[in-house]
């Protein structure tokens, strides 16, 4: 593939490179980044900019508002933002999603870590089957997953409640006001635990086995090895997984949206993104939606930035 023959030291070789090559080399990174930057600008930066622009505008109606020219777009200043931040529905949705995150993320990561460790342990059996089985939910889109779980939740059509009924247990309706947050979190858990397990498992496999062979020879139990050696070593992966899970949690949308028509207990503003959807699509008010989106994006960014700052050294231990 390559010729590894190097006869001269780097210094003299570099000095002998022609000027054209050197310039090409200086420009190379920009060339490589060009397609990504172009697409990023077109499909991420520009839309975000446009959403930002829209967040400062609104539409005013004249007269009855029917017919041509009845609506005009005008400058709104910070009105949309003020309304978003003081809207009780939006504030409630933020609180709800925080609780949702607190329920979901530790559980999901804890289980992912547990499964990954079990996959890495020598004495576990059925590893191949279980790994594929736990990863399979990743293949199911959130909309379909929510529909499937909806069937499993609704007492009259659910096999679980059928069995509970036969056993004589009075299990509360999981879609009732107090429990519906767990119902939604469960769908997120089901869909995400497999992917996170693979991420952590990859990191575990990368650990050279000499690291704990010695500990094993000393008689340390598998649990102790997991606790003292494996987990600390995969902490960078854990941290990044935590971050990405946290971001995904703040953006929860598909699951509550799909479950909403099945029950009375999910309002149209259950999660912050649902509020955005309601404004943009139901109320035809893209201006409020844009303002709320900016608020969400800024909050997510601040949280992620703060979190990374906190754990920076451990997460990005190796940088080129």
């Amino acid at each position: 593939m390559t010729s590894l023959a190097t006869t001269a030291t780097a210094g003299t070789t570099l000095g002998a490179a022609p000027a054209g090559t050197r310039r090409r080399r200086r420009l190379a990174p920009y060339v490589y980044l060009a397609p990504a930057m172009l697409l990023f600008t077109l499909f991420l930066a520009l839309p975000i900019g446009y959403a930002l622009y829209l967040s400062f505008r609104t539409v005013k109606v004249s007269g009855l508002g029917l017919g041509k020219g009845a609506r005009t777009e005008v400058w709104a200043g910070f009105d949309n933002y003020a309304r978003a931040l003081t809207d009780p529905a939006f504030v409630a949705s933020v609180g709800r999603v925080a609780v949702y995150g607190l329920i979901l993320v530790p559980t999901m990561l804890g289980l992912a870590l547990l499964f990954a460790l079990l996959l890495d342990a020598r004495r576990t059996r059925t590893k191949g089957f279980s790994r594929v089985a736990i990863f399979l939910p990743y293949a199911v889109p959130a909309v379909i997953a929510s529909l499937l779980w909806g069937f499993l939740y609704l007492p009259r059509v659910s096999p679980f409640y059928y069995v509970f009924d036969k056993l004589g247990w009075a299990v509360p309706d999981i879609l009732s006001p107090g429990l519906v947050i767990f119902a939604i979190a469960n769908i997120g858990l089901w869909g995400g635990v497999g992917f996170n397990m693979i991420v952590i498992y990859t990191a575990l496999k990368a650990i050279p086995s000499e690291l704990y062979e010695a500990a094993r020879l000393d008689g340390a139990s598998e649990v102790a090895i997991a606790w003292r050696i494996k987990i600390p070593v995969v902490t960078p992966s854990l941290i990044l997984t935590f971050l990405f899970s946290m971001i995904a949690t703040l953006q929860v949308f598909a699951e509550p949206m799909t479950l909403k028509p099945l029950t009375n207990t999910i309002s149209s503003t259950w999660s912050p993104l649902m509020t955005v959807y309601r404004d943009a699509f139901t109320r035809d008010d893209i201006y409020s939606a844009a303002a709320t989106s900016v608020v969400i994006a800024v909050a997510t960014f601040a949280l992620s930035f703060g979190f990374l700052r906190l754990v920076q050294r451990r997460a990005f231990a190796q940088e080129n």
Binding site: R156, T282, D284
Partner: protein, 441 residues
């Protein structure tokens, strides 16, 4: 290495395929700029979600080779409206013809999404429809924003076999309805005469319409909002009582649970509209022949009123480059006997076209073979639909309905139902004012 080469090969193949499909996809815009009326082929796109549309369109295409219509099926209801409005805002991407639900027409007109076809509509179309129906496409003015297609007068559907089993009388007043509901639920606590659905705003609107409510009104240049009128409050309180007592269920309709209930008889009745046979057939095919249809219970004995749930018109969008041809198509689709026959047979619609009804509705729906005079009874009921005006922010009101009544039905408290009505009123008025409308207090 092998993978690398095969990746490259795959990329080349894919790119070629992509180029080919992109060139032929065409998309939803009609991009020929011919005038069309002199025999050059005109392409029209039609966004709809009702079944039976392809068959009607096929019939049209066979008769009119120079005006070709393509059906693009959308998600029912709101999502399609949103996509249309987005396309209108963007300046491109909207279809030529759109299926417009009656309650959405003011919203669409105020967003300049519909074209005024008063000038290009064939002669005499207006005479095919009842005054009330025609008004919903003109909004009381001179402009015409669509041609009515179907309507949804409401009736009461019930399981005849269960009524016989428990010795129940078919209720003719709401008071009787409450009594029958209690009788049934006491005799068998697993069964309900119906359910209050917090996810179906159109259903509740129809109920209040029957009681005489009209949630919006026009007064000169201002809108008025009367969601919290006495009529609405009466209806809300009535149902709130029933849910609180537990004689009526509080679960939403159109869920897998509700389907199961229709099948096993735990939902023994359904206050619904004329298109119910199709839904029952799709959700509970094994109960064919067990259901019967009767007029809706009335508020006073001897009254004769009903509400409307659903129904739509066909409209030409403001982005269409061929409004004349599109208008020709929609008038044919909704007034020609052959077309109306197909709409009824394949789409399960109740046509708004008065002259066409006799032939199209000659036999009862497949699911109601046990009731040969189904359409005769329905025809009489259809004449009693009460007037109702929709405003420019129906979606806001409906969304408030979902949230507020969701809370109330879950809480099972009649007082909460009245609170919900008040909250809906406030949300709707606030939204109108925020948008800059003048709202009469």
């Amino acid at each position: 290495m092998r993978l690398h080469t095969s990746l490259r090969l795959a990329a080349v193949v894919a790119a070629t395929a992509l180029l080919a499909t992109a060139c032929s996809s065409g998309g939803g815009d009609s991009d020929d700029d011919a005038t069309g009326s002199t025999g050059e082929k005109v392409e029209l796109t039609f966004w709809t979600w009702a079944p039976g549309m392809e068959e009607v369109v096929d019939a049209w295409n066979a008769k009119n080779p120079d005006i070709h219509v393509t059906v693009n099926k959308q998600d029912g209801g709101d999502p399609a409206v949103t996509k249309l409005l987005t396309a209108i805002k963007a300046g491109s991407g909207a279809p030529d013809v759109f299926q417009t639900e009656y309650q959405k027409i003011p919203t669409l007109v105020s967003s300049d999404a519909l074209a005024d076809i008063a000038d290009v509509l064939p002669e005499g179309v207006q005479d095919h429809f009842a005054d009330g129906t025609w008004q919903s496409v003109t909004l009381g003015g001179d402009a015409v924003y669509g041609v009515p297609q179907d309507s949804g007068p409401m009736e009461f559907y019930y399981r005849e076999d269960i009524f016989q089993q428990y010795g129940l009388q078919v209720p003719t007043t709401w008071e009787q309805y409450a009594q029958v509901a209690e009788q049934l639920h006491t005799a068998d606590p697993t069964k309900y005469l119906g359910t209050f659905s917090a996810t179906d705003a159109g259903w509740f609107t129809g109920l209040t319409q029957q009681a005489g409510a009209s949630w919006w009104g026009i007064d000169g240049d201002a809108w008025s909002v009367e969601i919290d009128s006495t009529a609405t409050q009466k209806v809300a309180e009535y149902w709130g009582d029933l849910v609180e007592k537990g004689t009526i269920d509080n679960k939403p309709m159109y869920t897998p649970e509700w389907n199961a209930a229709l099948n096993d008889g735990t939902q023994a009745g359904w206050v619904s509209a004329i298109w119910a046979p199709g839904v029952l057939q799709g959700n509970a095919p094994d109960t064919a022949g067990k259901w019967k249809m009767a007029p809706m219970p009335q508020w006073s004995e001897g009254d004769d009123a009903t509400g409307n749930w659903g129904g739509s018109a066909s409209s030409v969008t403001s982005q269409s480059k061929h409004p004349k041809e599109a208008a020709e198509f929609i008038s044919w689709m909704n007034t020609d006997q052959e077309a109306v026959n197909i709409l009824v047979a394949k789409g399960g619609l109740y046509p708004a076209d008065l002259p066409g009804q006799a032939e199209a509705l000659a036999s009862p729906p497949e699911f109601f073979q046990n009731q040969p005079d189904f359409y005769t009874v329905a025809g009489d009921i259809a004449k009693t639909v009460q007037p109702f005006t929709y405003g420019p922010n129906v979606n806001v009101a409906y969304s408030a309905y979902n949230d507020e009544f969701g809370k109330a039905t879950e809480a099972k408290q009649a007082s909460a139902f009245l609170d919900a009505v008040a909250a809906m009123q406030k949300a709707t008025v606030d939204d109108l004012k925020d948008s800059g409308f003048t709202v009469k207090d």
